[in-house]
Symmetry: C2
Subunit: 598 residues, 2 copies
């Protein structure tokens, strides 16, 4: 299936035969930017800055400009997509290792609990008598009479489709109703599907659900294509503010990505995208605003004010999502600052775990959100934790593939590693980063301040910067360690200050619930060892996977859960860390590693 | 002010320096089509078929193709816009006589009655305290708290504008509210305007109203730019059905025309188009469907079924009307067949005249709508009456300008005419057509069957077809007379059958209310003389001007009138003439002129 993302400003056609798709590119932009915006799953570990070499492509035909010159191999050589500028229509091949795998989107360890069966969209099939000169009642009025329920209005997108459907399907049609509003019509038969999206800064997970049975039919994860404008929220907000059309670049990229996902999901289950009649999307406040086309200028500058906090129902067409014409998207309410709807859904998805006890719910990611639940109070905050913990922007970072270091140990004082498939070590995969730091610190190769000990035989120096040699070609640098330190300090400081706001000590936390994809494979011991987590009994920690994904699926399938999410968001009190005087001092203290390895 | 109607498929820029505007044209389309679509007021009496020569232009610069060749005058000669194809960017001059005047839109003879002051849009000004790190409440929630009234939702287009308005206007904003829905925000101050549109097949009249005072600020009439695809409804419906993108051609043309009118109206009163916060549009069913983007296939074929009959509130952005983002357009309810919202508003605008008596309300145009009001019954029908009565598609037709024949008499057995400004006769203006036929028939130059009497000294023959010589160069042809006969027969037959349906005779009609622009200058005596109207005492006829315009203005300014219009539309019973067995016989009978000149 060939798809064309049409845009009048983008005049070049980039054809990706391996993927069976075509996207539009602008004169002079990079192949990487165009591909990412068009939803093509090209890897870009450094976000398109030209520092990682993970986005390799070959231009089979067409005009490109490559500042690195033609070099060996001429037109057909492998080149970095992020350095290659589009100068005409092209046919592009993506290197197998640069093609991001289609991730199976997980919905957390609680996904065996049944979803609800009380969605907000009702479906009513009607058959009417055909009109005649003696009975020329209009189509909409004819169907309204047959619906057998009061309807306040039939909306325009629905009315536009009705005459064709009635005449093409023996005077039958299927009405899609929300409240007392008919928002869509479709041919009789077919599925009644819903889309739940957990829109993260780095990745998005989408779930296709049969709204009649509450069954999850398919799930798909993609990298957030906005990553080509920066890995973190602030880079993207800055692009939105500073670049001409910047906000629209970002909006268009994620919308194109989601439309690709919806098509792929529907294709996988043999459904039509127009069978998707409802959608719920959660994301942090910046993702929420960028998707909705809300301005982010005021969100990126103190005092960091959102345009909207509450949940919103918007038309899918207002956002550009290609599902049933007239369908709504519910954008989950935010809490405050950057703590958005994805944290609300994480709270919803873990409520059976924190209800009645004192608990922390933490979702670790490029931005980390934390809530403290105690008695009837919910205190929430967030901190920027960067991509380092997940292996992003780490000099030797790579995805989990053959040759990736997944475990680091110090044996007899020397660094030893285990790689995937026991192949020659070529990089460090995300899940290994935290463990590497914990092990290096535990063995004294990194001191309490985070400095690599120059005298250790596995520590080297290049261009004045030290590194730990994990393998002959895999260097873990001082800079990488600093990035982990900053991240863990931010998380720990936010946790401690939240507890202090509530007048609680860490020991009072009965459950420490770690949600999110990264959180499901983090080693709790390593996290405690480097001081990212307080030193609680291990059984108090619960790693629950993508609770936000579970929560957003539940909102889609059960109106009570949708109302509950709105209530949780309204009840949660956002704590702005910048207003707490001791924040800076605590943060600096927490950059150090604990004096006593734990 | 230069405006550009942008469309990615239209790559040529047509600049009209005299009008200070630029429109986009497609390769190979005619200058006439492009100009009309872009809202340029170029005359086209024949609708662009190349038969009238009323659309003369000169191409000062640029590439065009003219099948009539360059001829004398080379590049700069005058040529017909409807024969000239666009082949590149052009600079175009329109001949003064081919530039349609900006009509003053009239709202009927009842326009001294005050308009209501109960519009459905409420405006509330708010000022909020600025946010801070200690009070980072989101903009929408901050304003909601300050509104002092319950609000169910703040819609996305409103939320998108709010942060910029608050920060640009000292934390003040003006909320636009419909029901309990905030649909828009604007800067504080400025006007609160409404737009009422009477969208006719041939002309559209638009009224700009101050919703606070109920005062009509400005009015403007334009030719309906869809005329380039045919003067009558069926031609346009056929274009919509048969041409690729045909419906969108027609929709785009009228939307561009209306956007031009809105800009011009707002410019005239020093307002911004975004100050227009509500709109009501009435039109016949085909105009309604084409504007709303509703399919017309089923409307153009028996049994002529509308997609929607009832009134609809649609987002202005769904239609493409550039007013306050988020504002609604109310599309007035239709009655049935082609009897649309413009007839409903005509009924509303004349209710004080027909209430309590037996009355006919007739709006004569390219399509003529008629209602019979008797006791609590409303019977409505319509008939195609073509453009001939108004001087359209008449061989010698022209607009009311110097040299146009405005009166025809027979003096001493010979035809005599009076022209505007007593200049040499060069054509027959619309208002003179009906009178010419009546006079020619009354003098026996046309017989009861409609044939010109060959033996009369003012009757000639060319190419086997007779004509009456009104002036040396102004020939009124047998074909023209036939067109008038068909129109008047249709109108009379519809009137008679409506009366028969109600069991009434023409004599029972207390008031014969003639609404519409044409109806305000038609000579009742001539109409009776040729049998278009029944021979009632003259004082029962009331010519009330544009009652539809008055009615649509009242709907905009008074919620009770909006509800009343919906009720009238629902109560009116549509009579399908094609279901009445005697229709054809009556019609053929009515083609003849009355035996006794009256």
């Amino acid at each position: 299936m060939t798809r064309v993302v049409f845009d009048p400003h983008r005049t070049h056609r980039l054809h990706f035969p391996d993927l069976g798709c075509e996207v539009a590119g602008s004169e002079g932009e990079t192949l990487f930017q165009a591909a990412r915006r068009g939803g093509v799953r090209i890897v870009g570990a450094c976000g398109g800055r030209g520092t990682c070499g993970s986005c390799m492509v070959r231009v089979a035909q067409g005009h490109v400009e490559d500042p690195e010159g033609e070099g060996s191999g001429g037109h057909h050589r492998w080149r970095r997509a992020c350095r290659t500028k589009v100068r005409g229509d092209c046919v592009v091949e993506i290197a197998p290792r640069s093609l991001a795998p289609v991730a199976r989107a997980e919905v957390g360890h609680d996904d065996t609990r049944p979803l609800g069966r009380d969605p907000r969209v009702a479906t009513v099939d009607v058959t009417v008598t055909p009109p005649s000169l003696h009975d020329p009642v209009a189509d909409v009025e004819r169907v309204r009479m047959a619906l057998g329920r009061p309807v306040s209005a039939v909306e325009l997108p629905a009315a536009r489709r009705l005459p064709g459907i009635l005449r093409g399907h023996a005077w039958s049609a299927r009405a899609r109703i929300m409240g007392d509003l008919v928002f869509g019509f479709s041919p009789p038969g077919g599925a009644t599907l819903g889309l739940a999206v957990d829109l993260g800064t780095t990745n998005a997970a989408a779930f296709l659900i049969d709204l009649e049975s509450g069954r999850r039919l398919a799930a798909l994860g993609i990298e957030n294509p906005q990553a080509s404008w920066g890995a973190d929220l602030i880079s993207r907000i800055n692009h939105a503010i500073q670049a001409a059309n910047g906000a629209e670049d970002l909006r268009g990229a994620i919308v194109a990505g989601l439309n690709t996902v919806v098509r792929d999901l529907c294709h996988a289950v043999g459904a039509d995208v127009h069978d998707v009649v409802d959608a719920v999307v959660c994301g942090n406040t910046a993702m929420h605003h960028l998707l909705a086309g809300l301005p982010v200028h005021q969100l990126g500058r103190a005092p960091f004010v959102a345009a909207v906090r509450g949940g919103m129902d918007v038309r899918a067409s207002d956002v550009g999502l290609d599902i049933c014409p007239g369908a709504r998207i519910h954008l989950v309410a935010n809490i405050g600052g950057f703590v958005g709807g994805d944290h609300v859904t994480a709270l919803l998805g873990t409520e059976h775990r924190w209800s009645g006890v004192t608990a922390l719910v933490m979702d670790i990611g490029t931005n980390t959100e934390i809530s403290l639940l105690s008695e009837d109070r919910i205190l929430s905050t967030s901190c920027p934790s960067g991509p380092a913990l997940e292996g992003g922007h780490i000099s030797c970072g790579m995805r989990a593939a053959d040759g990736a270091i997944e475990r680091v140990a110090v044996v007899d004082g020397r660094v030893a590693v285990k790689t995937i498939a026991n192949k020659k070590a070529i990089g460090l995969c995300g899940s290994g980063v935290l463990d590497a730091v914990a092990v290096l610190h535990g063995a004294g190769i990194v001191d309490h301040g985070g400095r690599l000990i120059a005298s250790h035989p596995d520590v080297g120096e290049a261009a004045g910067a030290r590194f730990a040699r994990l393998a002959p070609e895999v260097h873990f640098t001082q800079h990488d360690i600093r990035a982990v330190q900053l991240a863990k300090a931010a998380i720990r400081t936010a946790t401690d200050l939240l507890l202090r706001q509530a007048g609680l000590s860490a020991a009072a936390v009965d459950r420490f619930i770690i949600a999110g994809a990264f959180g499901s494979y983090v080693d709790i011991g390593s996290g405690v060892a480097i001081g990212m987590f307080p030193d609680l009994p291990r059984e108090r920690f619960e790693q629950v996977g993508n609770a936000a994904g579970l929560g957003v699926c539940r909102m889609l399938t059960d109106r009570a859960d949708m109302a509950r999410a709105e209530e949780l968001a309204r009840r949660a009190i956002y704590v702005e860390l910048n207003t707490i005087p001791e924040f800076q001092k605590e943060f600096l203290k927490n950059i150090r590693f604990p004096a006593t390895p734990q």
